[in-house]
């Protein structure tokens, strides 16, 4: 395998993390009409890392390819990725279908083959379903080494070293390419897309595919039965004295 990096960055379009999701009337999911969508923050971090790898290691990156599996509108986040510095992109248009991590991984596997990628950097999870599975399943399908929840990535030739924050310290892994990395929150702080680059991005390639073009069938194994709001917090009570506080705490068996 050539030592040049061909990085693949999968990106998911999700409800903007700063908007409060509302449950739809049917109680089957989250209301999506009139709601702002943006790039999943962890995907943004993954993209940022790929850009930083290119900036920090001259001539080592051949190409950064962004891919999104989602509705036609997911083009918007691909344009953002192109504006930030991805070279090319692919949209796998699956309409408004919710696609489970296994299928996402299967589609990504096909894109990896097509693009001949040798380094895949993904967000550790998407903030809508919080599944935290895609990177791992993809590693299984490809039979590649994986380093999840990366907080630091270093490249030395074909060797990749990843630091992960774990309970009580850090864990350092290294492997030879090809490899899969999933990005944790503290890996980096994503940049802004600058105006000149937003304009240039309009001319960068955005390939559009259907899942059938990749020979993957969209099947769901899971059925969502119900989506509920977390229970509202009960109002607090005011106590007049320490004694009263103690007796109230005892009442609710807190002490």
């Amino acid at each position: 395998m050539s030592s040049k990096l061909k990085i693949l960055v999968p990106l998911k379009r999700v409800i903007d993390f700063a908007t409060k999701p509302r449950i739809n009337k049917a109680g089957t999911g989250v209301e999506t009409t009139g709601v702002k969508f943006s790039m999943n923050p962890f995907c943004d971090i993954a993209l940022e890392e790929s850009l930083r790898i290119r900036e920090a290691n001259k001539d080592i990156v051949e190409k950064i390819h962004a891919v999104s599996i989602g509705p036609t509108k997911a083009q918007d986040i691909l344009r953002t990725a192109l504006a930030k510095g991805a070279d090319t992109s692919t949209l796998v248009d699956v309409g408004n279908e919710e696609v489970e991590p296994l299928i996402v991984a299967k589609l990504l596997q096909k894109v990896v083959e097509k693009e001949q990628s040798n380094l895949i950097i993904l967000g550790k999870q998407a903030i809508d379903d919080d599944a935290n599975q895609t990177g791992q399943i993809l590693a299984g399908l490809l039979n590649w080494p994986q380093a999840t929840n990366a907080s630091k990535v270093e490249i030395d030739g074909t060797k990749v070293t990843v630091t992960r924050e774990v309970d009580g310290g850090s864990d350092t892994l290294s492997a030879e390419l090809p490899m899969i990395i999933t990005a944790d929150l503290r890996l980096n702080e994503p940049r802004y897309a600058t105006l000149p680059n937003v304009m240039k991005a309009k001319k960068k390639p955005l390939e559009k595919l259907k899942s059938s073009d990749l020979g993957v069938e969209l099947v769901s194994r899971l059925e969502t039965l119900k989506v509920e709001e977390p229970p509202a917090r009960a109002a607090g009570v005011k106590v007049g004295s320490v004694d009263e506080l103690v007796s109230k705490l005892k009442e609710v068996k807190a002490i």
């Binding site: 700063a18 962890f42 802004y192």
Partner: protein, 526 residues
Amino acid sequence: MFKKQILLSARLGSCQALNPFRANAVSRFYASGKAVALTADTYSDKVQRDSKYKKLDEKDLLFFRDILKDGNYMISNEQDLEFYNEDWMRKYKGQSQLVLKPKTTEQVSEIMKYCNAQKLAVVPQGGNTGLVGGSIPVFDEIILSLSNMNKIRSFDSVSGILKCDAGVILENADNFLAENGYIFPLDLGAKGSCHVGGVCATNAGGLRLLRYGSLHGTVLGLEAVLPDGTIYSSIDALRKDNTGYDFKQLLIGSEGTLGVITGVSILCPSRPTSTNVAFLAVSSYETVQKVFVGARKELSEILSAFEFMDGKSQLLTGRYLKADHPIESGDYPFYVLIETSGSNRDHDMEKLETFLANAMEEGLVDDGIIAQDEAQSQSLWSWRESIPEASAHDGGVYKYDVSIPLKDLYGLVEAAETKLNEANLVDIDSNDKPVVGAIGYGHLGDGNLHLNVCVREYNKNIEKTLEPFVYEWIQEKQGSISAEHGLGFQKKNYIGYSKSDVEIKLIKDIKNHYDPNGILNPYKYV
């Protein structure tokens, strides 16, 4: 628009730290640890306590206690009083011995009736974020805080009319409206602290005026207690009502000198579902104006904010936020924040991008960024909204909030800087000089400039260098010496620079008519 929201906890869990600036709402911020000098001392050449006002005694305390029913609604211990006696800039400090925090309009009425009869002077106080020293006593005036009157009274989701107590915090009102798909037609950097009643009392302008107009248009009715205790109410007024003098207009912008506002009815627009924010770097003030003309023309109905900032304001904000400027390609003389609000993201984005592409092509904009998501929007807004805090961060700030015809607007900052340099008072880095620098920013869309002279300490020499120089400069350009912050204590003696003798006489007549004893917010306004 910059907003704080409560997220579903599950969603927040993993990405809480994604936006370092989200807690930007101004709570109580302190410019420096130094003690604030008493206004009575600093300005002893300007004001003396008027002996016609009675000094508070035990009997009064008993009376108030009786009205308020509960000692918790009165504050009279030294330490707790400090918070109410000092202003946001830590420039002024009063010596009130008593804060009253009524819960009902009737209580306010009884308090005023009593104070009027006893000739006890009173300062109405909202969130105490006012910037002209109006919200705190000069001497020993009683502070009447509206903070316990904090209930939403009603909301009509068809007409968009919100009725609430005066003490509701602006951000809480806006969050409540957001839940209902509406927006408060006014927004400003102090939203986390200032009151709905307070913004009416000061006729605050803020960040959305360009889009939604002034409170003189959006406030439909007020409930207020007049100095003699009379309860005035037009809170049930409808949008169209041409019967008689529109008295509430006098209360809007009266800065606590005419009545205590206790309730507000305001017409709220529906909340835009699509907002975009762009931050641009521009090479000269002339070009800033060109970008503005272009923005108005090409973005037209979706343009909701056009804020400009000079390079130095961004430098100081960067120091204060301890962050790199979002525009990384260099330091520029001017920056512009443009916000669009609409109902169709694709349409709005296309308009914005076309406008920006043209502006880049014509060489009006040197560099720029467009926020890709809400977190970036908020973070870009923080570079505008943190300027007031940043400007006071080194010790203090002399604030001049002025309207000047657009072409001359920025000239004031240059003139002030020159004047301070001539007096040898300025150094941006060295602590040897008392002035850090003069910065300019503001709501360009409304012809409104904030000239902030950032200082390491308040001192008479700086003040004498700036005043009346700044006011004379503005008068010469036919501007207003107070575009939105009001007169308060700071500008009391300078109203003549912006208003004619006839206008001033009419204002005084009205004041004397409704407050013949002069008990409401004395030593201020006119």
